[in-house]
């Protein structure tokens, strides 16, 4: 039935397939430069990982080519020919087999030794001079606290380039995983346990934004638990800290005034804190809400429209969100959005 396994037509098909695969792969290479790429690291931690990943990739690529090549060669070379006699019944070749067992073990040494070095290098104790950041993973948003500066923010992490930062990961509800792909590997955020990540972001030329995301399934809106890391060039971080430490300034805009009124009289104050206005601790701190580019688990840009829609119907925008639909009318929500967006 399958007498001619290798026909010209078939060879052409295989070549075509190979060409398509190469094309596809080269598309892949051009796609490495994406906002959440893991292979264009921007920190020491990320580079250590990338180093060993590249080492393993090249090693396995060699094995891959040898094995798949050998397989294809066997398929071509030992295909059944009409009238072929029964092949020699070889049962094995012990020295050869011991040989490749040992060879595999040696290859693993190449990978294993640097792996262990980097395991220990990436889990060293923090230094007192490190920037201390508490990362708190909530269902489904991120809270970032800077105890040294007494600042709390949400869904937006600001880091000074070139300064080592120590992240302490806290989970008040379920397990999350804190992942800033371009700055390095993830760590799970586990209740009743404080994990750590220590890394030094590269000094960028201009303020750079790296999206991050929760990487451990944590319930309905796991996909919506995103955040942004903003790495500042020298000096800029301190400015940001000053702005955040300052109390919010009341806007003179009447709509915002009306929004503030609504906010203080509604149940909002039970969950959200705005310095000098309210002191809730369940939802994100809103003191400098307008200074952040995105909100609600970094799901949306902070435009008046988005914010108003969110206040009116959070459940629609982030399924399962702990902020309930409060029966706020669209007029009211517009006013409240204006207020929140005045909190620079």
């Amino acid at each position: 039935m399958m007498k001619r396994f290798v026909s010209p037509a078939r060879v052409r098909t295989v070549l075509l397939l190979l060409a398509v695969m190469m094309l596809a792969t080269s598309c892949g290479w051009s796609l490495w430069d994406n906002p959440m790429t893991t292979v264009r690291p921007r920190s020491d931690f990320g580079r250590w990982i990338d180093e060993i990943f590249m080492l393993i990739s090249w090693t396995t690529l060699v094995i891959f080519i040898a094995v798949e090549g050998g397989l294809l060669y066997c398929c071509w070379r030992f295909r059944d020919r009409p009238g072929a006699p029964i092949p020699k019944q070889i049962h094995g070749h012990t020295p050869l087999e011991i040989g490749w067992t040992v060879a595999f073990a040696l290859v693993l040494l190449i990978i294993g030794i640097p792996t262990i070095k980097i395991i220990f290098r990436t889990q060293e104790a923090p230094a007192a001079t490190d920037l201390h950041v508490n990362v708190v993973g909530h269902q489904w948003w991120w809270e970032f606290q800077y105890p040294d500066y007494k600042i709390t923010t949400a869904d937006e992490l600001h880091l000074p380039g070139g300064r080592t930062a120590a992240f302490y990961l806290h989970a008040p509800d379920v397990i999350h995983s804190f992942w800033m792909p371009q700055l390095g590997g993830k760590r799970d955020v586990v209740p009743h346990r404080v994990n750590r990540i220590i890394l030094t972001p590269d000094v960028p030329k201009v303020t750079t934004e790296h999206p991050g995301q929760c990487a451990e399934y944590c319930g309905t809106s796991h996909a919506n638990m995103r955040f942004r890391v903003i790495v500042h060039p020298e000096g800029e971080f301190e400015q940001w800290v000053k702005a955040q430490q300052a109390p919010p300034v009341d806007s003179t805009d009447p709509l915002a005034q009306q929004g503030k009124d609504l906010f203080t009289k509604s149940t909002c104050v039970g969950c959200h804190s705005i310095a000098g206005v309210s002191a809730g601790h369940i939802g994100p701190d809103l003191t400098h809400f307008a200074s952040r580019g995105t909100f609600a688990g970094s799901l949306m840009k902070s435009t008046p429209d988005n914010v108003a829609k969110w206040i009116e119907n959070p459940q629609q925008m982030k399924p399962g969100a702990l902020m309930p639909n409060l029966g706020i009318t669209s007029e009211q929500s517009k006013a409240m959005a204006a207020y929140l967006l005045s909190l620079k």
Binding site: N134, Q145, H170, R193, V194, R196
Partner: protein, 111 residues
């Protein structure tokens, strides 16, 4: 005695004589008494107590499995089927214990 023992072995895959059973039971009683008594030795160092208790429990375990369950006389297949899993189970208990104290446990409120 020896004959009846041999007959018994031939009959059913083998087991010990009644006298052996009684001897084992006596040994088990003594070991249990020692276990409990060792708790009340005044000033016994903790490590010694723990080691002694584990050794004695291990001995009792071995006596019951070896004699009452006839594993000493049984086919090596049966022995492998039980001892192998027992070995893995013990390793897993030890690994779990190691893992649960090796975690970095910082106080909950570093905030």
């Amino acid at each position: 005695m020896a004959e009846s023992h041999a007959a018994a072995v031939a009959h059913s895959g083998g087991h010990a004589s009644i006298r052996t059973y009684i001897n084992v039971a006596v040994a088990l009683t003594i070991l249990t008494t020692l276990e409990v008594a060792s708790l009340y030795i005044p000033g016994i160092p903790n490590w010694l107590l723990v080691t002694a208790l584990i050794v004695m429990a291990g001995l009792k375990f071995f006596l019951v499995v070896g004699f009452f369950m006839h594993l000493r006389y049984d086919s090596s297949v049966m022995r492998a089927l039980f001892v192998g899993p027992l070995f893995i189970a013990i390793l897993i208990i030890l690994a779990l214990m190691a893992l649960f104290s090796a975690f970095i446990l910082l106080p909950h409120h570093v905030l």
